[in-house]
């Protein structure tokens, strides 16, 4: 219920923003997306969301899509007498589970220090490793994490282009692969001119897991006591029933 209410309030605020900006022409960039919601079921193969917008002022547009923050564990496999086992492990706390960047900056234009502070760009993402590990080890595991995330299409390598239909109208196709984490994603749209942010807009996308298996998963983790009892009871009842039915209909 809370999530639902949140979702509606987000849509309303977006609508209000639209009306307000259309009336006053105060916002140099406005945009919207085709849907605020992605539902993952067992057949989910990924989703595409269309982002469109209009730009009223001079400047460059940067769009960042950030997934919910998660803790990641990176393990280096090691070999002992031919057996692969887990060697050194580094835990990264609160790293983005999804990150995608679009911009009108050309490949030559340096995304300056301000962008780095806002964590715009793969190279500017900040990772914090937990535990006492050296800078060298941290870098090694961080590179591997980013590399794997890129391979899984969860981080997009470098910056992607923004399509302009004319001087002001633009659109971008946001691609979400099948292995995205559930949670709240944010789409951030910046208008940057001469190193300063002229306009900033943030749109949420809710990624939900639906269907029976998601419910069972949640129940097993949140109510593990009852889940355990049910698993045991189910086995006892079915075992007893099988014994009864076979004895009755097949004989011993």
């Amino acid at each position: 219920m809370i999530r639902l209410r949140l979702r509606y309030s987000a849509i309303y605020s977006l609508l209000a923003l639209f009306l307000w900006s259309a009336n006053s022409f105060a916002s140099p960039v406005i945009s919207g997306i085709s849907t605020n919601e992605i539902n993952i079921d067992h057949k989910f193969l990924g989703a595409q969301i269309l982002l469109f917008g209009a730009k009223g002022d001079a400047g460059n547009i940067v769009i960042a899509v950030r997934g919910p923050k998660k803790n990641f564990l990176v393990t280096r496999k090691q070999k002992l007498l031919g057996v692969w086992y887990n060697g050194e492990r580094v835990k990264f706390k609160d790293a983005y589970s999804f990150y995608s960047l679009f911009s009108t900056f050309g490949p030559q234009d340096p995304l300056d220090s301000e962008l780095s502070e806002m964590e715009l760009g793969n190279d500017n993402l900040k990772f914090s490793a937990s535990g006492d590990i050296g800078e060298k080890a941290k870098n090694e595991f961080q590179i591997q994490l980013i590399d794997q995330m890129e391979k899984n299409s969860l981080y997009s390598a470098g910056t992607q282009r923004i399509d302009f239909l004319d001087e002001t109208l633009f659109k971008v196709m946001l691609n979400f692969p099948k292995n995205i984490a559930r949670g709240t994603y944010t789409v951030e749209i910046y208008l940057i001119h001469e190193g300063s942010v002229l306009s900033f807009q943030s749109i949420p996308i809710y990624v939900n897991q639906v269907g029976m298996s998601a419910k069972i998963f949640d129940f097993a983790h949140e109510e593990s006591f009852f889940y355990g009892l049910i698993a045991v009871a189910l086995a006892l009842v079915v075992g007893w029933l099988a014994n009864y039915l076979f004895a009755r209909f097949l004989g011993k």
């Binding site: 067992h42 998660k70 803790n71 990641f72 564990l73 990176v74 393990t75 280096r76 496999k77 031919g82 057996v83 692969w84 086992y85 887990n86 492990r89 835990k91 589970s97 595991f141 591997q144 994490l145 794997q148 995330m149 984490a181 269907g211 029976m212 298996s213 998601a214 069972i216 998963f217 097993a220 983790h221 593990s224 006591f225 889940y227 355990g228 009892l229 049910i230 698993a231 045991v232 189910l234 086995a235 006892l236 079915v238 075992g239 007893w240 099988a242 014994n243 076979f246 004895a247 097949l250 011993k252």
Partner: protein, 309 residues
């Protein structure tokens, strides 16, 4: 037909799982064993993560054992007093086992320890069985006899056991034994139940016959009696502490292996015991060899990324 396993978080073919359960149940029924030793490795071979294969198997074992126990209870073949002592030890053992499991899962070694323990146990059991069976067959066919080694160390151990305190009389089995013996044995087996996803009958039954000296008509029923409780405890604790029991997978396995077991039992009556032992030992050896491949398999990449829940 694909189904998504909610806890294993992978899609599997329902028909494949049902066939696997049928086969495991059939073999279990035919050889008169619990089947965990066959079902758990088979689940791993089709790609179920070892930790989930083990915990889900303990769930299925409850079902298979209660079915067998009810039949044994009807025949009056259960020493319930002895059973309760075994349950006490088994509860302790399986709780320790689940704790070890948790530590291994935390350090990330569980997926390698499970196949390793399997290789050790399957390897030693199948080879011992194979040698024994070949000897018996040779004796029967060609009249070759081997000198029976007197196992003096084992005799000495039994002597020591007789001197232990807290001797208790068990009327059903007509034996007197220190309560430490069944408790210590079942602690050890309880640990294996949690770590391997087996009922442990393959160790419990010989222990009852050779160490506790219970009459052989009672051992199967009494073993099943304690397995029901210990597998229940292990399943519950795995679900609560490690979240590794997949109820959908367990349900499919329970149904299919119950059916398989019925047919297996019927076939088992017609095959003679010695050739059956030979086939079983060869089968366990084959599973052991396949498990070696799991152990030596190269990981998909040198670095593995996991999202922590």
């Amino acid at each position: 037909m694909q189904i998504y396993l909610p806890i294993a978080e992978i899609p599997v073919n329902v028909i494949l799982i049902l066939m696997l359960g049928l086969a495991a149940g059939f073999l279990a029924g035919m050889f008169g064993i619990g089947g965990g030793f066959i079902a758990t490795p088979l689940l791993m071979f089709i790609g179920i993560p070892p930790a989930i294969a083990v915990s889900t198997s303990t769930n299925q074992i409850i079902s298979a054992s209660i079915s067998g126990l009810l039949a044994q209870l009807r025949k009056g073949n259960v020493d319930i007093k002895m059973g309760w002592f075994l349950v006490v030890g088994g509860f302790l053992g399986s709780t320790i086992g689940v704790s070890i499991f948790k530590i291994l899962q935390k350090t990330g070694h569980i997926d390698i320890v499970i196949p390793l323990v399997y290789v050790i146990f399957l390897g030693s059991i199948s080879v011992t069985m194979l040698i024994e069976t070949i000897r018996t067959l040779a004796e029967k066919k060609y009249g070759i006899t081997w000198e029976k080694k007197k196992n003096s160390r084992f005799e000495k151990l039994l002597k020591k056991i007789e001197q232990l305190p807290w001797q208790v009389y068990f009327p059903k089995s007509d034996i007197t034994v220190s309560i430490f013996v069944p408790i210590v044995i079942s602690i050890g087996i309880g640990i294996l139940v949690a770590l391997m996803g087996v009922g442990g009958g393959f160790l419990m039954i010989p222990a009852m016959i050779y160490i506790l000296r219970m009459p052989s008509s009672i051992v199967v029923g009494t073993s099943l009696f304690q397995i029901v409780f210990i597998a229940s405890n292990a399943t519950f604790l795995q679900a609560v502490t490690n979240h590794t029991v997949d109820i959908v997978l367990a349900f499919l396995m329970i149904i299919s292996s119950a059916i398989g077991a019925q047919f297996g039992t019927r076939v088992g009556y017609r095959v003679d015991a010695d050739s059956m032992r030979l086939v079983l030992s060869l089968l366990l050896f084959a599973v052991c060899v396949k498990m070696l491949f799991v152990l030596f398999a190269a990981p998909p990449s040198l670095y593995i990324i996991e999202v922590l829940k």
